[in-house]
C-alpha cells in the first residue's frame, strides 16, 4: 500500500476512534512523566472529555452514507454508529464512576493506567462494532479483552482482584481459542476474511458437507463469543470476576463489554449465517442457515435466563448478585437474537441502552455503599432510605427498571423483546414463557434489595458523602431510565430517523 492510496481514504469516518486513541496516548504519556505526587484524577476528567468529544464527532458523522475504508476492513454503517453511541455513553458513565473510585488501600501508583485502560478497552469495543473483516474484528476483540484483563486485576494488593484477573485471563484464553477455531472454518470455506465478500460466496454454496462445517463454525463462534456476553455455557467466570474486580471495572464489563459482544455477534451471524442457505435442495435451500439453527440459540437463551435468575436468588454479595442479574439480562437479549424479528435491531439497541443506564446507575450506588470498606453484603443497604432518601429512591428506580416494572426503560425493553418473540412466524411461545417466568423469579432478589433499603433499620446513621462524579452519573441514569420508560418513542424515533432501519448492514 503506497502513501497515495493511504491518503486517499476518508479517514474522517474514523474520527471517533482517533480521538479515543489520541486521548489514551496522551494520558499514558502524561502519566509516565508526571511527578509521583501529581493528582491523577484530572486524567480521568480528560479521558471523559475525550469520550464526549468522540461522541460529538460521531454525531457529526451521523448523516453519512455507509462508508468503508482500508480495503473494506473498517465499516461505518448505521449499525456501527448506533452501537458506538451506546458504547460511548456507557464508557462516559463508567468513567464518571471510575473518577470517584477510591479503594481502601489507595491506588495512587496506578491510577493513570486505570483511566486510559478504559479508553483502550473502549477503542477495541468500537473497532468490534465497526469491523468489516474477521482480522480487524479479532484485533478489536483482543484489544478489549486484554484491557479488561488488566483492569480486572488493577487492585494489585487486593487478593480477590488478583483472583478475578487470573480467572478472566484463563477463561478469556479459552474463549479466544474457540472463537478463532470457528472463524478459521469460515475462512477455509469462503477463502476470504472479509465479511462483505463472504456473503455472495456463501449464498451459492451447494455442497452440503460445506454447510455442515459452516454450522459447526457457527457453534464455535457463538460459544466463543458467549464469553463476552456472559451467557450459558460460558457464563461461569462472570460471578467470580465481577465480585473481585473494582466496581467501575465490573460496570465496564457488564455494560460496555457486553454491548460490544452483542454488536459483534449480531454482525457476524447476520452477515455470515443469514446469507447461507440451510441446505442444498428444496425448502431448506430457501431458509437461511441461521433460521434453521434458531432452536439452539433459543435453548441457550432459555438456559441463560434460568441460570442467571435462579442462582441469583441465593446470592448475598451484591456484586455477585448483579453478576447473575447481568447473565439473566444477556439471556433476555438472546431472546431477541433468537426471534430474528423485523425489529430485532430496535429491540436490541433499546434494551442495551436501557440496560446501560440502569446498570451503570446501580453500580454507581453500589460503589457508594460498598465504598472503601469492601463489605459487599446486601445487608449494607439496610436502612438506606433513612440515611439518604434520594440515594435510596434512585437505587429503587434502577432496581425496578432491572426488574422490568412498567414506567421504566427496562419494561419497554422487555416488552419489545417479548413482542418480537411472539410476532414472528413461528412464534416462540416457550421462550416467551420462560422469559416471563424467570422475570417473575427475578422479582424475588430484586425486591430483596428494596426490602433492605426501605424496610430494614440502618446499622449506622453515618452520613453518606457522594462524590460529584457519581452524582452526575446517578442523575443522568435516573433521568434516562424514567424518560425512556415514559416516553420510549424518543429513543425509537431517534433510531428510525437516523439509522434508516439498518438496511445498509448488508450493502
Amino acid at each position: 500500500m503506497d502513501l497515495e492510496t493511504l491518503l486517499s481514504y476518508d479517514w474522517g469516518v474514523m474520527a471517533p476512534e482517533f480521538i479515543i486513541l489520541g486521548v489514551a496516548t496522551i494520558l499514558s504519556i502524561v502519566d509516565l512523566f508526571a511527578p509521583k505526587h501529581f493528582n491523577r484524577r484530572i486524567l480521568g476528567w480528560i479521558g471523559l472529555a475525550g469520550i464526549l468529544a468522540a461522541l460529538a464527532s460521531l454525531f457529526n458523522l451521523a448523516g453519512l452514507e455507509a462508508t468503508s475504508i482500508l480495503y473494506e476492513t473498517f465499516r461505518l454503517d448505521s449499525f456501527a454508529k448506533a452501537f458506538k453511541i451506546l458504547l460511548l455513553i456507557g464508557s462516559a458513565l463508567v468513567m464518571l464512576i471510575a473518577i470517584s473510585y477510591e479503594p481502601k488501600e489507595g491506588m495512587q501508583e496506578y491510577k493513570g493506567e486505570f483511566y486510559y485502560l478504559f479508553l483502550t478497552g473502549l477503542l477495541g469495543a468500537m473497532m468490534m462494532s465497526s469491523s468489516g473483516d474477521l482480522i480487524t474484528l479479532f484485533v478489536g476483540l483482543e484489544l478489549l479483552t486484554i484491557s479488561s484483563w488488566i483492569l480486572a486485576g488493577i487492585r494489585k494488593k487486593h487478593l480477590p482482584s488478583n483472583e478475578s484477573a487470573m480467572k478472566y485471563v484463563v477463561n478469556g484464553g479459552i474463549s479466544t481459542a474457540i472463537t478463532l477455531f470457528g472463524m478459521s472454518y469460515v475462512y477455509g470455506i469462503t477463502g476470504t476474511t472479509n465479511l462483505m465478500e463472504m456473503g455472495p460466496t456463501l449464498a451459492q454454496l451447494a455442497n452440503s458437507q460445506y454447510l455442515y462445517i459452516l454450522a459447526l463454525s457457527f457453534f464455535m463462534i457463538f460459544i466463543g463469543l458467549s464469553f463476552k456476553l456472559a451467557t450459558a455455557p460460558f457464563h461461569m467466570w462472570a460471578p467470580d470476576v465481577y465480585q473481585g474486580a473494582a466496581t467501575p471495572v465490573t460496570a465496564f464489563l457488564s455494560v460496555v463489554s457486553k454491548t460490544a459482544g452483542f454488536a459483534l455477534l449480531v454482525r457476524i451471524i447476520i452477515v455470515v449465517y443469514l446469507s447461507t442457505p440451510a441446505g442444498t435442495s428444496g425448502l431448506s435451500a430457501m431458509t437461511p442457515l441461521l433460521v434453521s439453527l434458531q432452536d439452539y440459540i433459543a435453548f441457550l437463551a432459555g438456559a441463560t435466563m434460568i441460570i442467571g435468575n435462579v442462582v441469583a436468588l441465593r446470592q448475598r454479595n451484591i456484586k455477585r448478585l448483579f453478576a447473575y442479574s447481568s447473565i439473566a439480562h444477556a439471556g433476555y437479549l438472546l431472546v431477541a437474537v433468537t426471534a430474528l424479528s423485523a425489529f430485532m435491531f430496535d429491540a436490541l439497541w433499546f434494551y442495551l441502552g436501557a440496560y446501560l443506564f440502569m446498570n451503570v446507575g446501580a453500580f454507581a450506588v453500589i460503589q457508594i455503599m460498598t465504598g472503601s470498606s469492601d463489605r459487599e453484603d446486601i445487608g449494607e443497604f439496610a436502612g438506606l432510605y433513612k440515611r439518604s432518601p434520594i440515594l435510596a429512591v434512585s437505587m429503587a428506580v434502577f432496581i425496578l427498571s432491572l426488574a422490568g416494572i412498567p414506567g421504566t426503560a427496562g419494561f419497554i425493553g422487555k416488552l419489545n423483546i417479548f413482542m418480537g418473540a411472539l410476532i414472528t412466524e413461528p412464534a416462540h411461545y416457550v421462550l416467551a414463557a420462560v422469559m416471563i417466568a424467570t422475570t417473575v423469579v427475578s422479582y424475588f432478589y430484586y425486591f430483596g434489595i428494596l426490602t433492605q433499603m426501605f424496610f430494614r433499620p440502618a446499622a449506622s446513621m453515618e452520613k453518606i458523602n457522594i462524590p460529584i462524579g457519581l452524582v452526575i452519573a446517578i442523575i443522568i441514569s435516573v433521568a434516562a431510565t424514567i424518560l425512556f420508560g415514559i416516553l420510549p418513542n424518543i429513543g425509537f424515533d431517534f433510531l428510525h430517523t437516523n439509522f434508516n432501519g439498518f438496511v445498509d448492514l448488508l450493502q
Binding site: F219, I223, P233, F234, I307, V310, F455, L487
Partner: protein, 621 residues
C-alpha cells in the same frame, strides 16, 4: 372532561412533594396530602356531572411504536370510569383526613402520606385507562403502592411477611392477566378496549380464544380482588395500618379486579363459559369467606373475610350478566366497608387491641363510633332501607334471572352468614360489660370521626340511586348507549327481596341471641314482655340447637376450608418456591470457584450442542 387526565396527577404531586420535603414538614404533610386529594375529588365530581350530560370522552396519543404496531396512551371517561373516579378520590380523601388522627405521633408520618399519594395516583390512573396495556401498567403500580402500605410497619415480622405475600399472590394472578392480554393483542392487534370489543362482536376472534382470554384476565382479577383460591393475602394484609385497610381493602385495590371484569364486560358476555367461571368463583368465594368470618376473633380479620365475601358477591353479579348489580354493589360496598374499617380503626385506637373477646361495652363510651359502626353493620347485613340492601337485592335478582339457582341459594346462605357474623362482631364489641382494664377509653378526635360521619351518611343513602321503588337512575345511566352491558334493571320476583330480608334478620336475631342477650337480664324481659319470655324460654334450645347443628357444621366447614387453604393452596405455592430454590442451590454449588470447571463447562456445552446438531439436523441425517 377534556382535562380529566389531571385528576391522577394531584396525588402524584403530593407523593413527589412529600418524598422530597416530607422530612421537614413532619405532620404538616397531612394537609398537603389532604389538599391534593380534595382537588382530585372536586375535579372528579365535576367530571361526573359533566358525564351526565355529555357523551363519553376519549383522548389518545401514540406512545410507542414497535415495528408497525402503534401503542397508544391516553384516557377515557365513560360512565364506569367517571363513577370510579369519584369513589376512589372520595374514599382516598376521607382516609387522608382520618389518618391525620390515626397516625398521629408516628415517626414516619410523612412517609405514610407519601405512600398514600402514590397509591391514589396509581388507582386513579387505572380507572381512566383506555387500553389494556395502560391498565396493566397502573395495575402493577397499584400493587407496588399496596406493597409499601401493607408493609408500612416493616419492623413487625408479620407486616413484612404480609406485604410480601400480598405482592406475590397478586402477582400470580397478574401473570394470568398478562398472558390473557398478550393473547388478545395477538388476536386483535390492539390493546384498545373499543377495538377488542368490536373484534369480539364481529366474531373475528374464535369462541375458544374469547373464553380463554376472558378466563386468563379473570385470573388477574382473582388475584387482585382476593377471590378463591388466591384470597389468602387479603386477611394477612390487615397487618397494615387500619386506614390503609379502609382504602385498599374496601374501596380501591380489591375493587380493581371487579372493575377490570366490568371494564371488559363485553368480552365476558361473549363467552357463556367465562361468565359461568366468574359466577361460580364469585359465589364460592362469597360463602367460603363468610363461613370463615364466623369464627374469627380479630376485628380486622372479620372485616377482611367479609370483604372477600362481598367481592365474591360482585363477581357473582358480573358472572350472572348483572353488570349494573356488580358495579352498584361495588359502590355501596366501598362506602359501608370503608366506614366499617375506619370505625374499627377508631375502636382499636381507643382500646389498643384487636381481639374482640377482650372488648365489650363500648357502646356507651364511643358515642359516635358505636352508632356509625351500627350503620355500617346494618348496611352490609342487607337490612332494608340501607344501601347494602338494594345492591345485594340486585345481585340476587341477577343471579336468579340468569338461571344460576344453586349459586343463588349459596348467595342467600352467605347473606345469612354475613348478617350473623357482622352482628356477632357488633355485639361482642359494643354490648355487654366493659372490661375492667379498659377504663381509659376515649372517643377519637373529630378529624377521625368526620370521615366516618360522611361515610355513614353515604352508607345509608347511596342505595337510593338505584332502587326498584324510586327508579333505577344509576343502572339506566351506566348502560346508556351500550347494549353489550345488558339492562339497567332486571325485574325479579318480589319474593327474592322478602327472602333476603328474612335471611338477614334471621342472622341478626341469632347473633343477638348468642352475643347480645347477655346484656339483658331475664327479669327485665319476663316482667315486661311475657310473650318474648316464651321465646326466651326456648333460648337454650335454640342455643344448643345452634351449637349442635349450625355452629358445628359451620365450624367443620370453616376448618375444612382453613385446612384446604393451609395445605393445598399454600402447599402448591411452597412447592413451586421449593423447586426454584433447589435449582438455585444446585446452581451455586456448581459455581465452585474452580476455574477449570468453568472452562470445562463451556467445552461440555459446546460438545453437547455439536453432538445434538450432528444427530438431529446435521451430518448424520
Amino acid at each position: 372532561m377534556e382535562n380529566a387526565w389531571i385528576i391522577p396527577l394531584f396525588p402524584l404531586l403530593s407523593f413527589l412533594f412529600l418524598l422530597l420535603f416530607g422530612k421537614r414538614l413532619k405532620e404538616t404533610s397531612a394537609y398537603i396530602g389532604m389538599l391534593f386529594t380534595l382537588l382530585s375529588f372536586i375535579y372528579s365530581l365535576v367530571v361526573l356531572f359533566d358525564r351526565f350530560s355529555n357523551p363519553t370522552y376519549k383522548a389518545e396519543a401514540t406512545w410507542l411504536t414497535i415495528g408497525d404496531v402503534q401503542l397508544t396512551a391516553g384516557f377515557e371517561i365513560n360512565q364506569l370510569n367517571a363513577l370510579m373516579l369519584v369513589i376512589v378520590s372520595l374514599v382516598s380523601f376521607l382516609v387522608h383526613t382520618y389518618s391525620k388522627g390515626y397516625m398521629h405521633g408516628d415517626d414516619r408520618f410523612h412517609v405514610f402520606y407519601a405512600y398514600l399519594g402514590l397509591f391514589t395516583f396509581a388507582m386513579l390512573g387505572l380507572v381512566i385507562s383506555p387500553n389494556l396495556l395502560q391498565t396493566y401498567i397502573f395495575w402493577e403500580l397499584v400493587g407496588a403502592g399496596s406493597f409499601l402500605l401493607i408493609g408500612f410497619y416493616f419492623y413487625k415480622e408479620e407486616a413484612k411477611a404480609a406485604a410480601k405475600k400480598a405482592f406475590i399472590m397478586t402477582r400470580i394472578g397478574d401473570v394470568g392477566l398478562l398472558i390473557g392480554m398478550i393473547l388478545l393483542f395477538w388476536q386483535v392487534g390492539s390493546f384498545e378496549y373499543d377495538e377488542i370489543f368490536q373484534a369480539v362482536e364481529a366474531g373475528s376472534v374464535s369462541a375458544g380464544m374469547v373464553t380463554l382470554t376472558a378466563i386468563l384476565i379473570f385470573v388477574g382479577a382473582v388475584g387482585k380482588s382476593g377471590q378463591f383460591p388466591l384470597h389468602t393475602w387479603l386477611p394477612d394484609a390487615m397487618e397494615g395500618p387500619t386506614p390503609v385497610s379502609a382504602l385498599i381493602h374496601a374501596a380501591t385495590m380489591v375493587a380493581a379486579g371487579v372493575y377490570l371484569v366490568a371494564a371488559l364486560f363485553p368480552l365476558f358476555t361473549a363467552s357463556e363459559t367465562a361468565l359461568m367461571v366468574v359466577a361460580i368463583i364469585g359465589a364460592v368465594t362469597a360463602i367460603f369467606a363468610a363461613s370463615i368470618g364466623l369464627v374469627q376473633k380479630d376485628i380486622k380479620r372479620v372485616l377482611a373475610y367479609s370483604t372477600v365475601s362481598q367481592l365474591g358477591y360482585m363477581m357473582l353479579a358480573l358472572g350472572s350478566a348483572g353488570y349494573v348489580a356488580g358495579v352498584f354493589h361495588l359502590m355501596t360496598h366501598a362506602f359501608f366497608k370503608a366506614l366499617l374499617f375506619l370505625a374499627a380503626g377508631s375502636v382499636i385506637h381507643a382500646v389498643h387491641t384487636q381481639n374482640i373477646e377482650e372488648m365489650g361495652g363500648l357502646w356507651k363510651k364511643l358515642r359516635i363510633t358505636g352508632p356509625l359502626f351500627l350503620i355500617g353493620t346494618l348496611a352490609i347485613s342487607g337490612v332494608p332501607l340501607f344501601s347494602g340492601f338494594f345492591s345485594k337485592d340486585e345481585i340476587l335478582i341477577a343471579a336468579w334471572a340468569h338461571g344460576n339457582t344453586v349459586l343463588f341459594w349459596l348467595a342467600v346462605i352467605a347473606a345469612f352468614f354475613t348478617a350473623f357474623y357482622m352482628f356477632r362482631l357488633f355485639f361482642m364489641v359494643f354490648s355487654g360489660n366493659a372490661r375492667s382494664e379498659m377504663k381509659n377509653v376515649h372517643e377519637s378526635p373529630s378529624v377521625m370521626t368526620f370521615p366516618m360521619i360522611v361515610l355513614g351518611i353515604l352508607a345509608v343513602v347511596a342505595g337510593y340511586v338505584n332502587t326498584p321503588w324510586f327508579g333505577t337512575f344509576l343502572g339506566d345511566w351506566l348502560v346508556d348507549g351500550n347494549e353489550a352491558l345488558g339492562h339497567g334493571h332486571i325485574e325479579g320476583p318480589a319474593w327474592i327481596m322478602i327472602v333476603a330480608t328474612v335471611v338477614s334478620l334471621l342472622g341478626i336475631f341469632l347473633a343477638w341471641m348468642m352475643y347480645g342477650k347477655r346484656s339483658i337480664s331475664r327479669d327485665w324481659l319476663s316482667s315486661r314482655m311475657p310473650i318474648v319470655y316464651g321465646i326466651l324460654y326456648n333460648k337454650y334450645y335454640i342455643d344448643e340447637f345452634y351449637q349442635l347443628s349450625v355452629v358445628n357444621a359451620t365450624k367443620f366447614f370453616s376448618y375444612l376450608f382453613h385446612y384446604i387453604e393451609k395445605f393445598l393452596v399454600e402447599g402448591i405455592v411452597k412447592g413451586i418456591t421449593g423447586v426454584v430454590q433447589g435449582l438455585g442451590r444446585i446452581g451455586s454449588k456448581i459455581q465452585s470457584g474452580q476455574i477449570q470447571g468453568y472452562g470445562a463447562m463451556a467445552f461440555v456445552g459446546l460438545a453437547l450442542l455439536l453432538v445434538i446438531f450432528a444427530i438431529t439436523g446435521g451430518y448424520l441425517k
